[in-house]
Symmetry: D2
């Protein structure tokens, strides 16, 4: 595994210079849930590429001065999540901007390369320098290697050497190119706004800027937009394997990915959770905010009333001073506070989207018990996570995945729940639209791509 | 009307200096919903009062450097909402810190004075200067006028000259004093954490810092905490008249005010809304975020499924660049985006807490219609707002209150709803606990205090 | 002594709103040497007074956003030095802006009140509040006390109760008023730019904004500018007593105060220093930067070549990280570095403007000796400072004045000079123009105003 | 010409981690005059390289938080001047930090490559990417190309392909290496502090941190410091050609370069200026600040008194708001103000270090005339600049060099001087130490390296 992780990406190709950086800015706001570590925009102004990137949220990095400075007719942008293993560093913010034989290129990516280390070593052997830890720097170096070919051929040759999950947006001085890996592991959608084209990780960004969703980019498809319009070539298409976690918790509930509504997938999972394991209780609550939609679905199916159980402070921001251990021990609850009046003496169903390390759900159960819950029955809208993703989701190492080293009954005890039930994999797939075409490796260990030995 | 408006206030009296500014900081985070314009903390360190106040949110104004500098055993803090008529100015941030004949005083307040102008004119006639537009500066001047009396007597005499709604917290070099107006219009609660005492606008701040709620401050009560402990005196008690808007939308749902759970009041209002006007529909949705709790109550009573209908972007922050008119017209929807899959071809119940100007609900109905709703039935969890508050809630002038100049049917047309129903006043009072003891002047025009002529 | 200390003040009265805040901004830049602790501007826009003030330099506090916001036709500004005894606090930045019976007033001041404490106690006894430690707050309270009189009469009555040194600029909604104390202790000049009038502590600010110097404000004079033009009234005129330190080191060398060129006074002092005590040496150097002008004068008279001996780093700024003790001991010399090639094996005359505590000159002599000076003869362009000023110059307490507790020979030993000579008082007065009319209390103990007992 | 321009560089090799970033920080402060556009530090902490670089001054970019974070035993730093042709961009801040086959490298440089474009094209042809416009990125790529050789051999081979002026400091995980081009065009000195070694553009940085100057790095010398101590290898030595502008105005007056005192060179030039063209006048003044030292030398030789003639505002900082054209036309003189009392009715000698475009000296003469000077005789301490440097000094294109298109008499008229004299080249060389060993190409057109055709 290598390069870096979950990201939201967006690109706009326009015939004029008026609103491009605004579109990207608002689009990145809509994609902010995909990464809060760093963000950047690069923009092409008649062949000159200007850019701004930094650690921080979209609202912090881009002041109106910066957005007004970023003028041009083609632009790409990214929000990035920093992985556990990565040092937080400005240098790893994307888009990457490079010069090579054929001019300037700017690239951003959502995904991860399984053979990042091997490729980097091979390139270094050939005398290449690296200035970041980003997978896109390897990809750019491979493209530069084939600079005597046409750009599309160079991209094809470069990506043929690469193994992994990726959605890429590439900007040149006169075109905007998107590529989705051959399994379609990470999402990538195509939209239009007037005569301008948009590529975006999720449809919510297209809708938020007033655009119209056209279609998903297909697995293995290369889509090129330039002054002649939009055209498409195929890299290589393999068995579809959309990361099912996009539907479970990564994507925004108002997005629409590969013909599935994200909200409906979660809502359906809540209904199926009840159907698979019916339980009596006074109320259903969702773990804030990740379990809310499934809890509403559970309530509908079970007819057990849905209620809010925990209030989340909406003002905790970037500059929040974390409480010291000392203060924390006195019971400070800044971010979450239980709604005692709803919880006291009640039998509760607590719904969450997944259990990874088990620490958050444990604290939530404890908070509910302290607020007087009579019983807490935990229901999880995905199967136990037993394997660590190497294709773009920053799950911890397997020794830290609670379902990897404990049985379900042991997890129940560890989190102090009265009962615990995980949805079946079949149930989850059904919730997500019923047919197959998913990567479910984190539950089964079977990934569409071979894990590199070094991982 | 004068002085300034809705605020959240908190004070802590401790025997030592260890955590006081931390308590205030986290308490202000919990009260942030009561005001986002400015915030401040003043703290007493052996008679020297240090303070920090500025425009902005708690997380912006207080860095860890500032909190570490603010050392002492008594402190007060405020978050403030800036009224329509007020210029946003640092000078109007509280707490006010003054020196007078008997030393230093620091004061913060939630509420508004009906006779602010008259009092300020009288004091200016006597040669007083004013450096702010704050009601507390008038109150501090009145206390200074009686500096030959004991402090408590001076406070009593000063507040006897004052008409209005107020919860006050006053810090001297060796004591912390809270006062609630004689009608108890604004809330004020008393808590304990270990041996330390807390005063706070709402119980949520006491709970969030790990404290224990003791009781509400009574209408007209002066509560004094010093090294001898807590004692109480009465200013003047009149008919109880808690602002019912605290329960409708001002307070946090997890607070508990004058023996009422805020969450339950809103949930009950949703149930009663259905009972008063039963309507058939496919789904119930809440206007984000103010209508959510009542919508859940409506769903429970009506058995019509509760669903989320609109997604709110959680990342819009302080430095958000507002879209230009140009961009807005293209349909940019940064803050709110409809969940089309839930809405399309559905008959909807849309629940909100109140209608003031009518502009927000109109935009919400339009967004739902554009997303394909078959019908939109608007249900409001408070009666029509016909009168402008002069006791601390910053409602606009009456000519801007839609219910003041339109009939309900006219409002329905104006907001383009298929039907529109407001809960009855009797229904709202029942939802809020059934008995009386409320100020409902914004619906009826009958306020517990006479409106000043200048207003 | 009380209120606060050395400041630079400026005011502009214009018929239009175009450039007033720009004039003040550039004028404050020219006056920055009079105070680096805080700065502020208040401006009158048709009766509404807006302002900005904060800790920091002019360039830090006033961004172009702020200057563009400050619109109006009358404005005043200040740069302030924070005294030793004062806590650095935003609240003590001027101009003071207050509301009183007759509207808004804004005031700034250079000087200090001898009876500040008595006046403040008297006002507190009458029920007044104070929100700052500034002398101008006392003065504003006294003006408010006489609000039934005309403003000029109120100012006269207020200032009759005040003892001390002061140059004041007062802004009302339609006029700009300057006042200089009856001895003329602090400077205050009047200028014109087109049809606009300027008051300024020093002429350099008038020149820097392209204005023309008209005349000094006379001791005890009140100058009023409004739409009718400029007129003058007398408060009370007493024996002229300009603070001679203005000429020795406070004022900028290109200013012109009470008919004296500042540069010439310092240059002359250097010439007289040589005449009074002729000494042979290889080169003359000035202590950077305060001794430069006198050193040039000394060189001219003595014909001993003037040379630079110490290089000052021009880039040390506001955010400089002070070296730790550890680093300092290794001989780090960030701010000053000797020009070894000029100094080595030379007999040096080192000229400085004054010796207060003696610590700086001691370090300078040591640096020169370490760089190989054969001998260092220290020559001081003012007599020994034996008394602590209470009229606006922030000299330390007398027990910290080296000339108060050591003889000249003892000082010479303490600073490790080969010889030490202070100019005679007669010589200094001659350098400053020859006639009398100075306050020389810091050398003689004889001040024009009685020191308050509390000091 | 390519890569970038005048810089100050410094490196420290220590046996421990205690003070290295402090040394670099204070050293960069001492070198700040060599570049104010951007600055950076990279530091090696047991093989991990951390760094910080940004646009701005040393005091702006490095907060104490940053310096405390930068821990390690080897570090390098740079201050950079941005050339006319370069866009101001963070990406062009040094040190460059790269990973290549043999690990991490960090490099910074003072100088410019004559064959930058050719080398970059050749490398791009081989598939290399570039992420900056820096010459050091080309050099790093060349070193990576020879990664199978030892590092010193790789550096030698890389630099053999390079033409130009450069002083380089290279940091690896266990060594610090300095290289000076074969002509010694840019300065580079070696120092010691305790057991730690220092490389620095100028000796002033060594002295300022308490270190001891050992010797200059020789032209063509590679000096390596590691745990075994300091050793030296030769790249290639050619005819010595130190840039004479280092002595004329680039270096700090307290530095010592290739056995010459910078201060003395300038002082001598002033003396020789008078000797070559004796002129009668009342006073000598220096153009601030660049002409001061030569003016003092002129005064000594001519016996015409040296006087200050123009006061420079020492507070103009980074955030200064430039006056609008409108304001400027009224005669605003924020940065410089004439000392009218010294100038009026005087015959003046005005000394400056050089004339490049002629605009500054023209404004200075005009300012002096407006202040009443009877005559202004301009004397320049370097010959006419007729050629544009391509070896590290950012002189404008030749069509903008006033001496390239006007005769001396025409320049005199253009700047409105009563007379104008430039020192002879022989006189300048004599002032700088008498013997040869200089690059004087900007006066003669004869550079030690061939100018690239593309320039």
């Amino acid at each position: 595994m290598g390069g870096l992780f979950l990201s939201g990406i967006i690109g706009v190709f326009s015939k004029d210079n008026q609103k491009v950086s605004n579109y990207i800015y608002y689009g990145l706001y809509a994609l902010q849930h995909r990464g809060q570590a760093s963000t950047g925009i690069s923009i092409n102004n008649n062949g000159f590429i200007d850019y701004e990137k930094n650690l921080g949220l979209v609202g912090d990095v881009f002041t109106s001065d910066v957005i007004n400075r970023l003028i041009g007719n083609i632009a790409i942008g990214q929000v990035r999540y920093a992985s556990y293993s990565e040092k937080k560093s400005k240098v790893n913010a994307e888009p990457l901007v490079v010069g090579y034989k054929n001019g300037a290129l700017s690239i951003c990516m959502d995904g991860a390369l399984a053979n990042y280390k091997e490729l980097r070593e091979m390139l270094e052997e050939n005398g290449h320098l690296f200035q970041t830890d980003l997978a896109v720097e390897v990809i750019a170096s491979l493209i530069a290697k084939y600079h005597k070919d046409s750009l599309i051929d160079a991209i094809k040759k470069a990506l043929n050497e690469v193994k992994g999950s990726f959605s890429l947006i590439i900007m040149t001085k006169d075109s905007l190119i998107s590529v989705r890996d051959s399994h379609g592991i990470r999402p990538l959608s195509i939209g239009k706004i007037g005569d301008d084209f948009i590529f975006s990780s999720e449809t919510c960004a297209i809708e938020c800027i007033g655009g119209e969703f056209i279609r998903d980019c297909d697995p293995g498809e290369i889509v090129i937009v330039d002054n002649k319009g939009l055209r498409s070539e195929m890299l290589l298409s393999e068995k579809k394997a959309l990361c099912i976690f996009e539907l479970v918790y990564l994507a925004r509930p108002d997005s629409y990915i590969d013909n599935r509504y994200v909200y409906s997938s979660r809502f359906n999972a809540g209904e199926i959770l009840y159907a698979e394991c019916p339980t009596k209780a006074d109320i259903v609550i969702g773990a804030p905010d990740s379990g809310t939609v499934a809890a509403i679905g559970y309530s509908k199916k079970s007819k057990i009333p849905y209620t809010e159980g925990i209030i989340k402070n909406r003002y905790i921001g970037r500059t929040f001073i974390e409480p010291t251990q000392d203060i924390r021990e006195e019971g400070v609850r800044i971010k979450l506070n239980p709604l005692t009046s709803n919880i006291k003496d009640k039998d509760l169903i607590l719904v969450d989207d997944s259990i990874v390390r088990g620490t958050t759900i444990k604290r939530t159960v404890e908070m509910l018990r302290n607020a007087g819950a009579k019983s807490v029955h935990v229901r999880i809208a995905s199967p136990p996570v037993k394997y660590s993703c190497f294709l773009g989701v920053d799950t911890p190492n397997e020794e830290n995945l609670i379902a990897n080293y404990l049985t379900i009954e042991e997890i129940r005890k560890a989190i102090n729940a009265d009962s615990l039930y995980f949805i079946s994999l079949r149930g989850l797939v059904e919730a997500a639209g019923g047919n197959n075409g998913f990567c479910t490796g984190c539950f089964t260990g079977e990934y569409p791509i071979e894990r590199s030995k070094g991982e």
